[in-house]
């Protein structure tokens, strides 16, 4: 025989303040949980969306980041001629040899603080090689000019990035001619210019990386073997998507540790709160429980009833917590990608999955917290209870 | 001047739409050193009268003077220390704090005074001695019988040497033997220690111990017996 839920609902409403406090405590834990995971999600998403499965990123052998790499012109020619490279609609290989450097840009309002922003010297093929990149304002930089295109996540975070404005770095003035989007990826935190323009200014005669589209997206392993085995080259070939996703590296680990560490501790505290609340509920309702047991309700039903009550209060808390966390979705923040030492801007990413996890987490806390008190209720020695 | 002077007291309770008049012009004196039993059917206002004397409740109109002070005119803030000094109250259900020992329960009222620890201890011992429970000082209420609990409550009521000892149905939940013990104790407190006692009761045996018996019916004093001792 199941104890009707209305009993729980009414009992809960008898102690509105106490119930509200318990639910709110759980709500805060859930909000922090969702918030922190959204932070990590955002960072990971930005990096994961950065590369494509169908593209290959070639770096000098042993280099673990584009920054550390150097590829000479002749190596670029050899790579471009590889049969693994896809040919674009215009008949040219979809290859982009790129210059990769970090330029210090002063943060607005605090000229002593600088951020190291990625400046990527691309070939015009880059726009084709990377399918998710699009110009959202202005026109692409023209060849031979000191023109740059700015990733949209940089807009507003640094000065002089408007279309038509002049940005100064590496001792030269550059005109901002467009803004681009790149599917929310790390590229959106970069400044793109022509590789031939960047090279003399920065690095002499070498490129840092070569990115190309695979002719056969399924043939990555073969392409990797061929290129790395080629005696004329000393390179490592990486799947573009994997390479960038891996860059999350230590920061990703740290965020995860932080998220789980903090929320576990908070959760234990919230569970203790739930335990207290439920123990008090049981002891104040002892006579009622005794009556229920006398009427013939099975102790298991009493146990279930209290567990459900605890879970419901927690679920409400979970929903409130999810609502509290929701507004942070989309807020842009930045940190340093320690693999490339560059500034990366990304948005908090609250997914429906995350919200659901939060609510489930809340219910788990409620069930854990309600277990022992519910057990006590079920095991109530009826005679004593009635006398109380 | 009598210890307690009640003059033309009216007390009206408003419960929802019902208007209950408990007292309509009660006038009464209680002399010092008396042992008064207040008797009457339920609803006659016995407990209410006790509450008025202790300042736990206020008359709708009229005056209640205890030991020269107009109780009905005091504020809650004034009443607390006044009660601490002048009133010892014993309830039907013993109202000992279950987390404290008998000793600590009796000590409670003394915490409100400026007495030192040693002075407090001495008085508690005396009080418990008077009620015959000095061998049970370290026991918790759950380790005492009903009668013993009530005697501890009485000890707590007298430990501060109050002007008035008020008891509301003290033997209501006790068996016959314990009731007799408690009543004998009260008689002794009155005759030997000269305590002014007022007891609300149904128990006819209590009436036997009292020097004055007041019968209340529907808020009016209908009989006053002075029992010769």
């Amino acid at each position: 025989m199941k104890i009707p839920l209305i009993y729980n609902a009414r009992s809960v409403l008898q102690r509105p303040l106490s119930t509200a406090f318990t639910a709110l405590g759980i709500a805060l834990v859930v909000a922090v949980f969702i918030g922190m995971l959204a932070l990590g999600n955002g960072l990971r998403a930005a990096l994961a969306r950065t590369g494509s499965d169908g593209n290959v990123l070639v770096l000098r052998r042993g280099a673990d980041s584009e920054l550390a790499s150097g590829i000479a012109r002749d190596a670029v020619s050899i790579l471009s001629a590889s049969p693994h490279v896809a040919i674009g609609p215009d008949g040219r290989p979809l290859v982009s040899p790129e210059v990769y450097v970090l330029v210090p840009l002063p943060r607005p309002g605090d000229s002593s603080a600088v951020a190291n922003v990625v400046a990527r010297g691309i070939s015009d093929q880059a726009w084709n090689v990377r399918a998710n990149v699009q110009v959202v304002a202005g026109e692409r930089p023209r060849s031979g000019r000191s023109e740059v295109c700015v990733g949209q996540k940089l807009i507003g975070r640094f000065d002089h990035l408007g279309i038509g404005e002049t940005l100064r770095f590496a001792g030269r003035d550059w005109t901002v001619v467009c803004h681009f989007s790149a599917g929310g990826s790390a590229f959106e935190s970069e400044i793109w210019g022509e590789n031939e323009q960047f090279m003399p200014v920065f690095r002499g005669e070498v490129f840092q990386s070569v990115t190309f589209r695979l002719r056969d997206a399924a043939a990555f392993d073969e392409a990797k073997r061929t290129l790395e085995g080629d005696q004329r080259l000393t390179v490592d070939a990486h799947r573009e998507s994997t390479f960038y996703a891996d860059q999350v590296g230590i920061l990703g680990i740290m965020l995860k540790v932080l998220a789980f560490g903090i929320t576990s501790i908070m959760a234990v505290g919230a569970i203790f709160g739930a335990v207290n609340t439920m123990y008090a509920a049981v002891s104040s309702r002892t006579p009622e429980i005794a009556v229920l047991l006398t009427l013939g309700f099975h102790p298991r039903s009493v146990l279930a009833s209290f567990l459900v009550e605890s879970a419901l209060i927690a679920a409400v808390g979970g929903v409130v917590g999810a609502l509290l966390a929701l507004p942070i979705n989309g807020i842009v923040t930045s940190t340093t990608n320690w693999s490339s030492f560059s500034e990366i801007a990304f948005s908090f990413r609250v997914t429906p999955g995350l919200l659901v996890s939060g609510i489930v987490f809340a219910i788990v806390m409620g069930v854990l917290g309600g277990f022992f008190p519910a057990r006590r209720a079920a095991k109530l020695p009826v005679v004593q209870a009635l006398r109380a | 001047m009598a210890l307690v002077e009640i003059r033309d007291v009216h007390k009206v309770f408003q419960r929802d739409t019902e208007r209950i008049e408990v007292f309509t012009g009660l006038t009464l004196d209680v002399s010092e050193g008396s042992f008064t039993a207040l008797m009457g059917p339920s609803g006659s206002g016995k407990s209410t009268l006790l509450n008025l004397l202790a300042g736990l409740d206020r008359p709708t109109s009229g005056s209640v003077r205890v030991a020269g002070s107009e109780v009905s005119a005091m504020t809650a803030a004034q009443l607390a220390p006044w009660r601490a000094r002048h009133v010892g109250f014993v309830f039907q259900s013993f109202n000992l704090l279950p987390v404290l020992t008998a000793f600590q329960n009796v000590e409670l009222p003394l915490l409100l005074t400026g007495l030192s620890k040693r002075e407090r201890e001495e008085r508690v011992r005396i009080a418990l001695g008077v009620v015959g429970l000095d061998d049970r000082m370290r026991h918790y209420p759950r380790q005492l019988s009903g009668g013993q609990e009530q005697r501890v409550a009485i000890a707590r009521a007298i430990v501060g040497d109050p002007t008035l000892v008020l008891l509301d149905e003290p033997t209501g939940q006790l068996d016959a033997k314990s009731s007799r013990e408690v009543l004998a104790l009260l008689a002794r407190l009155n005759s030997e220690f000269k305590k002014t006692i007022m007891i609300v009761t149904h128990d006819p045996h209590a009436a036997e111990q009292a020097t004055t018996v007041l019968h209340l019916e529907k808020g009016t004093l209908i009989e006053r017996e002075a029992v010769a001792r």
Partner: protein, 380 residues
């Protein structure tokens, strides 16, 4: 205090509840101390920097090298006491995922300029006299079990190939911002391997007069403004402070979480106090009858909350201080010198105080407003 036995007795009424509540406060304050210390550590490290050391970088960006020839020119400038240089190596050890810094430095001048890097004199001399030698921070000894005299091989990433060094010394930094997990080797060795390219990563310039820092920095930058590699010179502290911002808006993040934590714990504690009080309405009525004033009753409630908050604070803050010291925590290398400051402890105490007052409020107010007669009737 004479009321203490009463307060403690009331807390002992439901031992489990009291313990759980204290445990919650403990956890919350442990978290609070941890979060705040992240912020204080970053802040402290951002302040590091000798007033007499300047750092000269390539103006184009810190990843670009400077010609070593600049050293002599800088040294000749008035106000400059000595010049040293260093280069970031960025190698990997085996397939260890754990990152640690490696620098090639002009050993003699660098060590002279950084008295914060201390080690036994014999080790120092051994290092200075051997070109392929290296010194390592204490933490690397614990992490990899390296010993003095051992050979260690790193894989270069920026500078490819296998690089082997012989460990000749273990240093201990006296300033936490200088990590205790770096490997330092000779710039000469570095140069040799690179075919005497004559490049340096950055220069460290020691000056006589800290007050002249800005002026000398300008002179240095003016000197090279029109050269192949223009420079940007600033105080070491400015350089360090710049790094501090790289992690992101950490203080906002920690502050937000910290606030949520404190708030949550307030709710838990207040709730426990309220429940406790609700069960005792009869007793409160009796106490009021005996003559306990509202003020005294309020004090008793607050004291109960105080014992819980105080015990939780002592345990939580104490545990935090001991724990991080015991595991020698340095936040994966990002938080060297992680130490819970007195300021944080005081703040924790303040939170406990706030907890005490806030959680006692509702039950105390209820007790004050309690209609004695009705409450007694309910009991009887």
């Amino acid at each position: 205090m004479k009321y203490l036995p009463l307060v403690l007795a009331n807390l002992g009424r439901h031992k489990i509840r009291t313990i759980l509540t204290i445990a919650s406060v403990t956890l919350a304050l442990f978290l609070f101390a941890s979060l705040r210390t992240v912020v204080t550590t970053l802040h402290t490290n951002a302040q590091f920097g000798s007033a007499r050391r300047l750092v000269t970088l390539n103006a184009t960006g810190l990843v670009f090298p400077l010609p070593m020839a600049y050293a002599n020119k800088i040294r000749a400038l008035p106000g400059v006491e000595s010049v040293s240089w260093a280069n970031w190596f960025g190698g990997r050890y085996g397939d260890s995922k754990q990152f640690f810094a490696q620098f090639a430095v002009d050993a003699e001048s660098y060590l002279a300029m950084y008295p914060e890097i201390t080690m036994p004199e014999d080790q120092k001399q051994a290092f200075l006299h051997e070109r392929s030698a290296a010194i390592i921070g204490r933490r690397l000894v614990d992490r990899y079990g390296w010993k003095v005299g051992q050979d260690v091989t790193l894989q270069g990433t920026i500078f490819p190939g296998d690089w082997t060094f012989t460990i000749r010394g273990v240093y201990t930094p006296t300033a936490p911002a200088i990590g205790d997990d770096a490997l330092i080797f000779h710039h000469e060795y570095f140069d040799e391997r690179l075919g005497h390219a004559g490049i340096a990563g950055w220069f460290i310039v020691q000056i006589n007069d800290p007050g002249a820092a800005a002026a000398i920095a300008k002179v240095i930058d003016d000197q090279f403004r029109n050269s192949s590699a223009a420079t940007k010179t600033g105080t070491e502290q400015a350089f360090q402070a710049g790094f501090a911002t790289m992690l992101g808006n950490v203080s906002l993040l920690m502050g937000t979480i910290g606030t949520a934590v404190v708030f949550a714990i307030l709710l838990v504690t207040a709730n426990a106090m309220m429940m406790s009080a609700r069960e005792r309405t009869g007793e409160v009525a009796v106490m009021k009858t005996i003559g306990f004033s509202d003020r005294v009753l309020f004090g008793l409630v607050i004291s109960e909350a105080g014992v819980i908050a105080g015990a939780g604070a002592l345990l939580g803050l104490g545990a935090a201080k001991a724990f991080y010291r015991a595991i020698n925590f340095n936040g994966f290398g990002f938080l060297p010198g992680f130490n819970i400051t007195t300021g944080t402890l005081v703040m924790g105490g303040g939170i406990a105080l706030l907890l005490m007052l806030a959680s006692g409020l509702v039950p105390a107010a209820r007790a004050a407003r309690l209609p004695i007669v009705q409450a007694l009737r309910r009991v009887e």
